[in-house]
């Protein structure tokens, strides 16, 4: 690595890591939106990944290269428990069932001493490297792009545009949706583990309602036509508060307003292009 890049990464390490991690989170939202569902549990899945990975590192002393893949297990199990019953129903049920998840888990983290209680877990080693975060982000973008171009992506788009028509075409709605939710939980869990291992501290208040809405605003601002849109949205919304330091109190107001304005006036998002496919 050239010297200037090393210096740059050292100075802005937190921000550079946050950009990559938030990109992963935006992708995890994108996968669910791509099948016409809304999950408000992305922050909770991220928290589960963060907590389970921190426990594995701190209490069981496992190496990070083992901890990172294992951190998807807890979020995936929760996604299965909530997604399996709700994804058969209309879209509002998944949203309702997941919106409370973050707050509920927060109460659990606070009240269980083994999980650090109100103080959270600290002293997590700084083992998340630049190449891990951006490697995963790159792999996720490429994989989602390839899936999006394939028949699976076509089926997902059909589900999003018209459920009934998709069903008539023989697409198994519940299976595609559950697959999407599991993928998104895994991505969020990985992002949580990487976040925990690049900030040395995690607390119970970091994975509640507000981060969940923030993640949604990443995906909506960027637009969910291609995987690049959400990543762009995440980067804009991560960099913006750094540039507008003075308005930090109003950052969440801003995020909320972005969702309102984008849904009302810019439904396709900033990168509103659709994926190109060969004719079937």
């Amino acid at each position: 690595m050239p010297g200037w890049l090393d210096d740059f990464l050292w100075t802005y390490q937190n921000l550079v890591h946050a950009l990559g991690i938030n990109g992963l989170l935006a992708l995890s939202m994108y996968v669910v939106l791509a099948v016409g569902q809304l999950s408000l549990g992305q922050a909770a899945f991220m928290g589960l990944g963060a907590y389970s990975s921190a426990i594995m590192t701190l209490k069981f002393k496992l190496p990070f290269l083992l901890v990172l893949p294992a951190s998807c297990i807890a979020p995936a199990l929760f996604a299965l428990a909530i997604g399996a019953p709700t994804l058969r129903l209309s879209g509002v049920y998944l949203a309702i069932a997941t919106i409370g998840l973050g707050e509920v888990l927060r109460a659990v983290y606070i009240n269980v001493d083994w999980l650090g209680g109100a103080l959270g877990l600290s002293g997590i080693p700084d083992s998340a490297e630049f190449w891990m975060i951006y490697g995963l982000l790159g792999v996720a973008v490429v994989a989602l792009w390839l899936v999006g171009r394939s028949g699976i992506g076509r089926a997902m788009e059909a589900i999003r545009e018209d459920e009934t028509a998709a069903q008539v075409l023989g697409i198994n709605l519940a299976r595609y949706r559950l697959g999407a939710l599991l993928t998104s939980a895994v991505l969020a869990g990985l992002a949580g583990a990487l976040g925990a291992h690049s900030s040395s501290f995690i607390g119970p208040n970091e994975y509640g309602f507000e981060p969940a809405v923030t993640i949604l605003s990443f995906a909506l601002l960027g637009g969910s036509g291609t995987p690049l849109g959400p990543v762009l949205g995440a980067w804009i919304l991560t960099l913006l508060p750094e540039l507008l330091r003075g308005f930090s109190d109003l950052r969440l107001v801003f995020n909320g307003l972005i969702i309102v304005l984008v849904v009302l006036f810019l439904p396709a998002g900033l990168l509103g292009v659709r994926m190109r496919r060969r004719a079937a």
Binding site: G203, Y207, V213, V263
Partner: protein, 347 residues
């Protein structure tokens, strides 16, 4: 029910770790008011009598009284969904708004609680109509998918809560003392505080008024017709835009009244109180069945009892988790609600 941690510690910790540049700091608000082991004034401590039959009876009474406020809150939410077919997440904000209007009226303007309660409810109703017009009317006209309206209210409510917190501060505020005078009542050795009694009476009155409105007036007929089939209702000469505004107003009033009564009962008011309440609202409307008023009443009372028993015999910090486990269990077994028809409305 004594909380395990102390506030000062948590707050200072949040300040240290607050700004990480990663997502929201999450430390911008105070602990939800029931997480702190707040309990309605004038209740005997459960630790005093030990785990006896008398304590169980007292817990059941407390649970029903708490549940009445949950039912009241969830009623407006389920009405809004039943008629407008929208999960309106700004609903929790009306609850906070009602409590704050009552706080300003009683503390700064010298109103009594009997004048402040209807005024605060009406103010919350007006806020509900304005927000419905700003956020949802346009989507309704376009016939947008239900997730679009859910997302728009989600963004709206985050902006509203954060703006309210920025303006009013995250601190817990208290209503002026002596608003509702009187020592706790005793019935057969069971104690009921005056605010609790007020919640119960007000819930009965408001629920009765709602049922009368829906089933005893022409307006109610229009609302029910619109709930059944909006297009047909429009063709029958019902002004659907005005009916939607009216439903928003009534729901907002119910939420606002709930906010005042619960603020009074727990004597703790802060901007995010509506969000914690929404969690209960979701459990109640899912368990009772989305859009089902009778179901919301029963489920609200039941949730109150379950929460109080969990807090009394297990741990006060885990009552959210228990409520949520019930929500997931109902979704697995009876997704149209405990009292719902077996056929599902698939979108």
């Amino acid at each position: 029910m004594i909380s395990k941690f102390n506030y000062g510690l948590l707050r200072s910790q949040e300040k240290v770790v607050g700004s990480r540049g990663l997502l929201a700091p999450g430390g911008s608000r105070a602990e939800p008011w029931w997480g702190a082991g707040q309990r309605p004034a004038g209740l005997p401590s459960p630790a005093v009598g030990g785990y006896s039959g008398a304590m169980l009876a007292q817990q059941l009474v407390n649970g029903v009284l708490l549940g009445a406020s949950y039912a009241l809150f969830a009623l407006g939410f389920t009405l809004m969904f039943g008629v407008l077919r929208v999960i309106n997440l700004t609903y929790g904000f009306y609850f906070s708004a009602g409590a704050f209007v009552a706080l300003f009226l009683t503390r700064d303007a010298g109103f009594g609680i009997w004048a402040a309660l209807p005024l605060a409810a009406a103010a919350a109703g007006v806020i509900a109509v304005v927000l419905d017009w700003l956020l949802l009317a346009r989507l309704r006209r376009q016939g947008a998918p239900e997730l679009a309206s859910l997302m728009v209210t989600l963004g709206g409510v985050l902006a509203l809560y954060s703006a309210a917190t920025a303006v009013l501060g995250p601190d817990i505020r208290r209503l002026p003392p002596g608003l509702v005078a009187g020592a706790p009542f005793e019935f057969f050795g069971l104690r009921v505080s005056t605010p609790q009694l007020l919640v119960l009476v007000a819930s009965f009155v408001l629920v009765g008024a709602l049922i009368w409105l829906l089933h005893g007036t022409r307006l109610g007929l229009a609302i029910r017709a619109m709930a059944e089939k909006p297009d047909a209702a429009g063709l029958m000469g019902i002004d659907t835009g005005r009916t939607a505004a009216l439903v928003s107003f009534v729901s907002g009033c119910l939420a606002g009244a709930g906010g005042v009564l619960i603020g009074l009962n727990f004597n703790a008011i802060q901007p995010y109180m509506g969000e914690s309440m929404m969690l209960r609202g979701f459990v109640v409307v899912i368990v009772g069945g989305l859009g089902d008023i009778r179901g919301a009443l029963i489920a609200g009372l039941a949730l109150g009892v379950v929460e109080v028993l969990t807090a009394g015999y297990v741990s006060s910090g885990l009552k959210e988790a228990v409520a949520f486990a019930i929500l997931v269990a109902v979704l697995w077994t009876r997704p149209s609600g405990l009292f719902g028809r077996p056929t599902l409305r698939r979108a």
